[in-house]
C-alpha cells in the first residue's frame, strides 16, 4: 500500500483519487477551494463521452484511447447514459454534415423518420442527421459528487482549503490545471487556458435524450441534457486567459443556437451563465509529466471527462508496475 497525495479535485484528480483508493492505496485528496468543485473547470464541462465526434478535429490517434476510457466509465461509480450523439445542421449549412461525416467514423447517416424515433421533440425539424450510436454522456456535477462519495466510502481522506505543502507521501499526483502552470513551464511544458462559455437552461416543455451537436460554419455548439429537464448549452473555444463572465455576444450565440435546434427553448428559463478555462497543452492533448515522485496530470482541454478514467489507469500502471506512459500522453 502506497501513500498517495492527489492535488486538485476536478475530474482528473477525482478519478486518480478514486482509482488509487480502489486499488487499495492510502489516498489524500487536497483541494484549494473551501467548497468542493467551486473552481473546477469540470463543473462547466459538456461531459460528452464522444470518442468519435471529438476525433473530428484531426485527432484520430485518440480514438482507441478514448474508447478504452469510455469502457472504464462503466466500471466507475457514476451514472452515465449510452444514448449516442446526434449531429444536425440548419438546412443551409447541410454541407457541414457532409464535411463532419468525412472526418469521422462509426456514424450512421439518418433521415427525418429515424431522427423522430430517437428524438420525438425534433420530429419534422431536420431532414438529416449523423448518429453516433456508440457514444455517451453524463451530468458532470452529479458525476463529480458520485466520485467523491465513492472515494470517501473507500476510506479516502479529503482536505479542503489546502494551500500549504502537501503531507509526506510516496507519490504526489498533481492535477491543479492552470494552478501548475509555472511548475510545468519550468519543465518546458507550456500550459495555456482555452476559454469556454456555457449556459444552463431549464426547459420542462422539451424532452431531449442525448447530446445534440449543431454544426455551423461560424459557431458550432451543442446541447447536453442534464437531469430534471435542465440543458447545458455550450461552448465557446477562445484562445484567451480572460476569466471574466460570459460575454453578451457569446451568450446570444449560444442561446440562438438552442433556439435553432428547437423554438421551445424560447420558453426555457435561464439558470446559469458561466465561463471558465480549459487547461491545455499545445497539441490539446492531456499529458502525464513525471518529475520523480511528483506526477503532473494536466492539460485535459475538452477531454477531461472523456479521458480521466484512462489517465488514472495509466498513472496507476506506471506507479505499480513501472509501465511507461503511452506516447500520446507523454
Amino acid at each position: 500500500m502506497l501513500k498517495i497525495n492527489v492535488i486538485g479535485a476536478g475530474i482528473l484528480g477525482l478519478w486518480q483519487a478514486y482509482r488509487f483508493a480502489k486499488a487499495g492505496h492510502q489516498v489524500h485528496l487536497l483541494e484549494k477551494s473551501e467548497t468542493l468543485f467551486e473552481t473546477a473547470s469540470s463543473r462547466l464541462a459538456g461531459a460528452m463521452l464522444a470518442p468519435f465526434c471529438e476525433s473530428e478535429a484531426s485527432q484520430r490517434d485518440l480514438i482507441p484511447h478514448a474508447l478504452r476510457s469510455l469502457a472504464l466509465w462503466s466500471e466507475g461509480p457514476c451514472d452515465f447514459e449510452s444514448k449516442g450523439t446526434l449531429i444536425i445542421a440548419p438546412p443551409r449549412d447541410r454541407v457541414e454534415l457532409t464535411s463532419f461525416a468525412k472526418r469521422t467514423i462509426e456514424h450512421q447517416h439518418i433521415k427525418s423518420e429515424t431522427i423522430a424515433q430517437l428524438e420525438p421533440s425534433l420530429e419534422g425539424r431536420f431532414n438529416e442527421a449523423l448518429y453516433f450510436e456508440k457514444e455517451g454522456h453524463l451530468a458532470p456535477r452529479p458525476a463529480l459528487k458520485a466520485l467523491i462519495t465513492a472515494f470517501r466510502d473507500l476510506g479516502g481522506e479529503v482536505t479542503l482549503g489546502f494551500t500549504g505543502t502537501a503531507p509526506k507521501a510516496d507519490y504526489t499526483i498533481d492535477t491543479r490545471g492552470m494552478g501548475a502552470k509555472s511548475e510545468l513551464k519550468a519543465k518546458d511544458r507550456a500550459l495555456r487556458p482555452v476559454r469556454g462559455e456555457m449556459v444552463v437552461v431549464h426547459a420542462p416543455g422539451l424532452k431531449l435524450y442525448r447530446p445534440i451537436r449543431l454544426l455551423h460554419p461560424r459557431m458550432p455548439s451543442y446541447i447536453v441534457p442534464w437531469p430534471d429537464d435542465h440543458y447545458m448549452i455550450g461552448a465557446t473555444v477562445i484562445e484567451s486567459d480572460d476569466e471574466g463572465p460570459i460575454t453578451l455576444r457569446s451568450g446570444l450565440e449560444l442561446l440562438g443556437s438552442a433556439f435553432t435546434v428547437h423554438p421551445a427553448f424560447g420558453d426555457a428559463k435561464i439558470i446559469e451563465f458561466n465561463a471558465g478555462s480549459r487547461p491545455s497543452f499545445f497539441d490539446n492533448l492531456p499529458k502525464i509529466v513525471l518529475d520523480e515522485t511528483h506526477i503532473f496530470v494536466n492539460g485535459a482541454y475538452r477531454h477531461g471527462f472523456l479521458l480521466a478514467p484512462l489517465l488514472a489507469e495509466l498513472v496507476l500502471a506506471h506507479i505499480e508496475n513501472g509501465e511507461p506512459i503511452e506516447g500520446l500522453f507523454q
Binding site: 507550456a190 495555456r192 487556458p193 477562445i238 497539441d283 492533448l285
Partner: protein
Amino acid sequence: MTNSQFKLYDTSLSSRLIMGTALYPSPQSLIDSVNAGGSEIVTLSLRRETAGDGAANDFWAHIQKLNVNLLPNTAGCKTAKDAITTAQMAREIFGTKWLKLEVIANDDTLQPDLFELVEATKELSSQGFQVFPYTTEDLGAAEKLLEAGAEVLMPWGAPIGTGRGLMNPYALRTMRSYFPDTPLIVDAGIGAPSHAAEAMEMGYDAILLNTAIAKAGDPVAMGKAFKLAVEAGHLAHQALLIEQRDMASPSTPVAGTPFFDLDNLN
C-alpha cells in the same frame, strides 16, 4: 529554384503562400502546418488573440519561434473608424507597420465594404501603415485604394471560408492585366490547391488562405499540398502556358511515320 523572390512593400520574400492562424485543431497543428506550407507570412487576428495577456503571450512566443513576418488583420471590423483603432492597437502589440485591412459590409457574405476600406486605407497610409486591403475585383475600387496609399491589393477569390475557389476568373484575369506592376494576392475563398494553382497561373503574386488548410482532415499534409500547388502555379506562369486551340495537333510528329500495319507484316 522553384520560387523567384518578390517584394511586398520593402520586404523580400520567396514563399508565395500566406497562411492564416485561426481554426486549427491545436496550436501545435498550426505550427506544424505553417512549417509544412513554408509560409513566410502569417496573419493574426488582434481581437481574438489579445482578449487576455498570458495565454496570448504563450501563443505569440510560439508563433514568433516560427520566425515569420506577422500580418495583423482587422477581422470583424465594420467601419473605417473601428478598423483604424484596431490597426493602431495591432501596430503597438505586434510592432509591425503591416496591416491586412478588412472592413466587412455584409454579415452573410462577409463582403468587403469598399467605401470604408478606401477611407481607412487613406488614413492608415498617412499614419505610416503599409496596408494590404482585402477587396473585390472591382477595378474602380482598386484604383482608389492605390491612390489612397496601398501598394498591394488583395482581391477575393470567393467569400471568406466558403472554399469555392475563383468565382470570377474573368474579373481576376482582368485585374491582373490592368495592374501588371502591383503585387496582387488572392485572399479568401480558396478551397483546394487547384484553386491556388489557378490563381498563380494567372500571374497572381501570392495566395492568402486559412480555412482550406486549418479545417482539412490533415492540416499538415494540406499545408504541403498548398505549398506545392502555389509553387507549381507560379512556375507554370513563368514558363508561359500554351494557349487553348480548337484543332487537335498531335504531340508526336506524324510526318515520316510508316503507316504499314506493323502487326500483320508477316
